[in-house]
Amino acid sequence: MKTNERNLVMSDAASRLRRLAAFFSKGFLFLVAAASLVAVLLIIVYIARDAIPFFKLRGLKELFASTAWFPSGNPPEFGALAIFIGSGLVTLGAILVAVPLGIAAAIALSDILPYRLRQAVKPVIEILAALPSVAYGFFALVIFAPLLQNHGGSLLSLAAWLILLPLGLLIAFAVSEIATRSIRADVAPAARWLLAATLAAVLVRGLVALSAILKNVTVSSGTNAFNVSIILGIMALPTIVSVAEDSLQAAGRELREGSYALGATRAESLFRVIIPAAGSGIIAAVILGVMRAIGETMVVWMASGNAAQVPQPWYNFLSPVRTLTATIAGDMGEADQVLGSERYHVLFALALCLLLISFFANLASEWILRRQARRLGGLK
């Protein structure tokens, strides 16, 4: 806005007044806009202020290296390693659920579904994102946990069939296709079918064996890392789908048309052209989804079992775990009474860890998204 040129319509005095008003209003707007900056600073300062006394009192090593979590014991122990592992485990589980599903759904939304269907799917994602976390937690605790506890084995084997059968058949076809490429043309189809049928039979036989093993799994408690991972995965889906879809869209029409013009199929142009171009955006989407899973409180508090122990072995998703967020939420009720004690400050120390994780993950995703925008902008 150029306001320093001589004004032809207004008198000088009026123009000066106006400029002054504009300056002050702009300053006021800036001050209000800076509220979020102030808020971030205050959050960091006030969480750190109550976290530092803990590190002063107990040092760094105990919190991160020991698994003995007895904050109300005598003497109290504050080893949060099991809690960090718990948080990591449920987040890993959530990623395993949400990333494949989310990226596949994003591909469908950006490239495969027709416009009308896409418009119909959008509200589904919006509702999944909008449902309150306590509703997810309630579902996990009241409906999913008893189901898992009573029919855990059959549920697991059903899931294995549903997921592995289509994927396995696909892989069997692809493998037989590739393996018979160099065979003489007149016997190739027969060989291909024979190989595919054998592979499929092996697959089904393996699945039968696997589901027999899974059927015998007894779930001693329905509130465990597996339950929470599935629910957190569903909660992280909307974030992953929408960010990944945005970056797939941002890859642009020109890239797609160029790839089709060279004779690539849709799958080929997606995997060789579009996804490499949009890759960093997809990584950012995954980071944001991870953030959602780490920071979620209610679901893990209600349905993770809240046992501060390291699962044996570490990947045992069927054992109860305890996470950072649930520990803060659950222990503050008692620690609040003794303001200024180690018990109070250790929760702030955990919150500081959470805050730092989310802060750096956010910066990373921000940086990735910006770099991608610059790069794709340069492509055009």
């Binding site: 806005m1 008003a21 504009a22 209003s25 702009k26 800036f30 209000v32 806009a33 979020s36 900056l37 808020a39 971030v40 205050l42 959050i43 006030y46 969480i47 599903l101 759904a105 591909i107 495969i112 799917v121 589904v124 994602i125 509702i127 909008a130 449902l131 309150p132 976390s133 306590v134 509703a135 309630f138 579902f139 009241v142 409906i143 289509p166 692809a174 296709e177 590739i178 789908v241 199929t265 849709r266 799958a267 080929e268 953030m291 920071g295 979620e296 409180t297 209610m298 508090w301 209600m302 967020t325 939420a329 503050m332 009720g333 959470l354 805050l355 989310s358 956010n362 910066l363 921000e366």
Partner: protein
């Protein structure tokens, strides 16, 4: 690769990605299905005569003469049952000591369960707690209690290689040959006339206060608390959010300071909600002393911080989507930038801003973690408006957690929990629906 196999791979990609969409929709259905079906049972259910008695005595509701007549009839229907109890009590006194010692605790158990089913036995003093003054108000709960009277649960550990299994043993067996034996078939056959279940639409579930920590009554205090918290958060966040968006979209020159601001906004959006809760406790309550302890005000302020980034982003998006021609026309007519914003830009962007506001309202209403330490209590009465400055309140999300995990009789009040979840979910869904409708209208208008 052969063309055919390339096609096959292409098709399978389509299949996999469509399957992902289907799975997502399925997940939503599986989530909402039980919440809707079992939540509806908080409103529609078969209410017994005890329910109507509570309505009359606690809420002064219903035709008192008819309910008195019904109570009379019900009491008559129960009379033979109570007669059997008295007869057996007399018989018990004359039994030989060993048998008496064996039967007395079981008899006491039956009496306790009957009390739970039908309310206090005749001639007993009024209990202190409301839940002991009335029997089962819901027919399906009465059925559960009836099963517990007819059968006692025992654990069978006879097979050491397996976990103990539950066995249902008919209670009648213990009382064979006594005066109490006919009680069990009698109760089973005549329970309907003792409780008179009738289909009821209890819409006042939304507007009734809760009685005896949610054993009876409705969820009004929670609804009101959620309303206050959301309203407060919106009042605090909207001015800041919209002004910040105006600054960022119209006045900010690209520079270090502005990109720092943007980083802060996205950082704020990424802070876990429980950290907001801790911050609210440490800052608003322990440092600023907004209130002595938890209060609606402190909770609203915390929630406002949480939704600030959402509002800023949505408002900025809406402001940016206003066509440039609008702004240029206003400026060329001699309007100052500020006037242009107030008279042209804001009205044009209003529906978009409104969409963002509505969506963040749903978020504020449903968040639990930030209000745990700053605003929420499990039991409370509906607050007056001025009390929100220094009083904590029950709120829907917190009480869903509380009733589902910490209540002393979690299993007996499932219908209340589901009713609360349904109310909250419906609230959020309606808000989102409104946002979707507004957005659709806007995009139609913008397209012309």
């Amino acid at each position: 690769m052969k063309l055919r196999s390339r096609k096959l791979l292409d098709r399978s990609l389509t299949g996999v990605s469509v399957m992902a969409i289907v799975l997502m929709a399925l997940a939503l259905l599986v989530l909402l299905g039980p919440i809707f079906s079992r939540g509806a049972a908080a409103f529609f259910f078969r209410a017994t005569s005890e329910f109507r008695r509570i309505n009359l005595e606690q809420f002064n509701r219903g035709d008192s003469r008819r309910i008195a007549a019904e109570s009379q009839a019900v009491a008559e229907a129960r009379q033979p049952l109570y007669g059997m109890l008295d007869d057996f009590a007399a018989e018990l006194e004359d039994m030989d000591p060993a048998r008496r010692r064996e039967l007395r605790p079981q008899f006491k158990e039956v009496r306790d369960l009957l009390r739970e089913l039908l309310g206090p036995l005749p001639g007993e003093m009024d209990a202190v707690m409301l839940r002991q003054q009335y029997g089962q108000t819901r027919w399906e709960r009465a059925q559960v209690t009836l099963q517990r009277i007819l059968f006692s649960e025992q654990w069978d550990y006879s097979d050491p290689s397996r976990m103990g299994s539950k066995v249902l043993v008919p209670r009648r067996q213990a009382f064979v040959g006594t005066q109490l034996e006919p009680l069990f078939p009698h109760l089973q056959q005549n329970l309907k006339s003792m409780l008179r279940p009738r289909f009821t639409f209890y819409w006042r579930f939304l507007s009734d206060r809760s009685l005896d920590s949610h054993f009876f009554g409705g969820i009004w205090p929670e609804i009101l608390g959620t309303f206050y918290l959301t309203l407060g958060a919106m009042l605090l966040a909207i001015p800041f959010g919209v002004i910040a968006a105006i600054y960022l979209s119209e006045f900010a020159a690209a520079g270090r300071l502005v990109s720092l601001l943007r980083v802060c906004i996205s950082t704020l959006a990424g802070v876990p909600s429980i950290v907001f809760g801790l911050f609210g406790l440490a800052f608003f309550i322990n440092t600023l002393h907004l209130s002595h302890s938890k209060s609606v005000l402190a909770g609203s302020a915390t929630l406002a911080l949480l939704i600030l980034p959402t509002i800023i982003r949505a408002a900025e998006e809406a402001l940016k989507s206003v066509p440039h021609a609008y702004k240029e026309a206003a400026l060329s007519l001699g309007a100052s930038p500020l006037r242009m914003v107030l008279t042209v830009l804001l009205p044009a962007a209003l529906p978009g801003i409104l969409t963002g506001i509505i969506i963040s309202m749903g978020r504020a209403a449903g968040e639990t973690a930030p209000i745990i330490f700053t605003a929420a209590v499990s039991v409370g009465r509906p607050l007056k408006l001025w009390e929100t400055l220094n009083q904590p309140t029950p709120a829907l999300p917190w009480n869903i957690y509380n009733l589902a995990t910490e209540h002393q009789a979690v299993d007996q009040i499932r219908h209340v929990q589901f009713g609360m979840v349904l109310t909250l979910v419906l609230l959020v869904l309606l808000l989102n629906l409104a946002a979707i409708v507004i957005r659709a209208r806007v995009s139609r208008k913008m397209r012309g």
